[in-house]
């Protein structure tokens, strides 16, 4: 059984096809990442999977329920952390959890029993009476995560869970998400932080212009699509150096005034770098895969 499956999923807005026939399969207990530049169709895909919008074609099954036909039943066992916080500013921290639990038809006693554990999880113990406006960005994000857990969901959707957070807040969220995976919850997250995807996701799909262009574990994607080592070189005279590098590395590309060399072994290249050139020698990362597959053009 899959926790989430989508087949040949399509969605257009006017003449623009935002999702162009994608297939997804997320196993129970898996942390699955949906990566892509802005406008790739990630958020639309999440909305389709939740049954918030109707697909133009294709099939979706969420926790065994056909979506959108039985989306309501599926959503009862799902949590959502949206891209932009929409906590209820009229309420305190605790009231937010209480009111949200009621939307799931949960009795007050049951919600109140869970609130202490949820606040603990969100690192907000003792802040139950705080107003939403007094919380920092990281606290709001954690409370939104706690809110998504109020119905003890089997699967949690997260749309860019750490965008806009400082490193401390981001690491805390990552730690919590790993805890959720250990508890056996299925996570589906979108992100454009490659580091986040590399750390958290068991498997991921890279999306661009409404299509999935690569799918697999972070390591497998790196191994499949990119050479293991990267050398970045910049500084005066980089252009003439690049001409020499081309004969020594299998793949060389120039972006602005930086030269990127990819290869199994770039050691021989290191010896050719003169002292006035700056360089960085590093292992290939998911970001290199992402940029190779989706290109370096700006997306707005």
């Amino acid at each position: 059984m899959t926790a989430l499956a989508a087949r040949a999923l399509r969605k257009s807005y006017g003449a623009t096809e935002v999702v162009s026939g994608i297939d997804l399969a997320v196993a129970p207990g898996e942390c699955f990442g949906l990566l892509g530049p802005n406008g790739a169709g990630k958020t639309t895909t999440l909305k389709l999977c939740l049954g918030l919008i109707e697909p133009d074609g294709g099939e979706i099954e969420l926790l065994g329920e056909p979506v959108p036909r039985r989306a309501r039943e599926a959503r009862a066992r799902v949590g959502v952390v949206p891209q932009f916080d929409n906590l209820d500013p009229d309420f305190t921290v605790e009231e937010n959890l209480l009111v949200y639990g009621r939307y799931f038809g949960l009795p007050k006693d049951e919600i109140q029993q869970r609130i202490a554990a949820l606040l603990e999880f969100a690192g907000l113990a003792g802040r139950g009476d705080a107003k939403i406006t007094t919380l920092s960005g990281g606290m709001k994000r954690r409370l939104t995560l706690a809110r998504a857990l109020v119905n003890d969901p089997q699967l949690v959707f997260m749309d860019e869970p750490t965008t806009g957070l400082d490193p401390q807040a981001r690491h805390l969220i990552w730690e919590r998400l790993r805890r959720l995976t250990q508890e056996g919850k299925t996570l589906v997250l979108t992100t454009h932080f490659m580091e986040e995807a590399e750390r958290l996701c068991h498997r991921l799909a890279i999306m661009d212009r409404g299509r999935i262009i690569a799918q697999g574990s972070p390591r497998a994607l790196i191994a499949e699509h990119i050479e293991p080592q990267v050398l970045e070189v910049h500084g005066p005279g980089y252009e003439s150096w690049m001409e020499r590098a081309k004969s020594l590395a299998p793949r060389v590309e120039r972006v602005g005034d930086t030269v990127y060399c990819y290869g199994e072994d770039v050691e021989p290249l290191l010896k050719t770098i003169s002292s006035d050139l700056g360089y960085l020698h590093r292992p290939a990362s998911l970001e290199d895969v992402f940029l190779k597959l989706t290109g370096r053009d700006l997306r707005d």
Binding site: I53, E54, A76, P82, D88, P89, R102
Partner: protein, 249 residues
């Protein structure tokens, strides 16, 4: 009954801000009632066999109910939908946009009912109404609230910004208040204007409530109830239609 959790959410906010909420919904209409009622009433012997303030109390009950319902279903609901994105958050739960529309309309009608029934209570305390018939004005006030909440919510889900509501308020609500028999008997209006008034919900609310305040059964009672119910039902259906459209993209 899933819509009830939406109603309850709004109720909880209202409960937290009860002092300000009561003041803004009740002080204005009551000041108007006594100011105009006694002020103008001193100049007028009686209107349709009632003291002017009793005559005006019935109109003011309906007008204040209309305003509370409209403000709640337009400005407050729009703030929740557009500014706070509260509706978006609710939609992740097992609720649909239809549930939210129903909950918002029911809530605005409830709040409006409280305004109407408080004015009624004040009218009774001041001896402006004394017959048991007046109790029927309580469900009538809810019906007026329901009709205007449903129409207001159409405006809410159609609005792209706050300015949109000014058109409805200035071009629809204010003229409606003037021709619906709130301040003077609508029957003295020129025939075309009276015909317009009869097509609008406020007139029918006043036609129900005024005889009840005077102490008797309202003539053509079911016609007036029917028009108000029709506005509520059509408003509800249209609000759902436009809300689905807005939230499907």
């Amino acid at each position: 009954m899933r819509w009830f959790s939406v109603w309850r959410r709004n109720m909880l906010v209202w409960h937290k801000l009860i002092a300000a909420a009561m003041l803004s919904n009740l002080a204005d209409p009551l000041i108007m009632l006594f100011g105009l009622g006694y002020g103008l009433g001193a100049l007028l012997p009686s209107v349709e066999g009632m003291s002017y303030i009793a005559f005006f109390a019935a109109g003011q009950l309906c007008t204040a109910t209309m305003f509370t319902a409209s403000f709640e279903s337009m400005f407050s609901a729009f703030a929740r939908m557009h500014g706070q994105k509260t509706w978006d958050a609710i939609l992740y739960a097992p609720l649909t946009i239809d549930d939210i529309v129903a909950g918002e309309i029911a809530w605005a009608a409830s709040k409006a009912w409280l305004t109407g029934s408080t004015i009624l209570g004040v009218a009774v305390v001041f001896g402006l109404a004394s017959s048991p018939w007046v109790l029927l004005a309580l469900p009538a006030a809810f019906l007026v609230g329901l009709a205007f909440s449903a129409v207001g919510l159409i405006m809410c889900v159609l609005a792209r910004g706050w300015d949109f509501f000014s058109f409805y308020m200035t071009l629809v609500m204010t003229p409606m208040m003037m021709i619906s028999g709130v301040f003077f008997p609508a029957e003295q209006l020129p025939a075309p204007l009276l015909a317009v008034a009869k097509a609008l919900p406020l007139y029918h609310g006043v036609q129900i409530v005024r005889p009840l305040v005077a102490g008797g059964p309202p003539p053509e009672f079911w016609l007036h109830v029917g028009v108000l119910l029709a506005y509520a039902a059509a408003g509800y259906a249209l609000a759902i239609h436009f809300a689905r459209k807005r939230f499907s993209s």
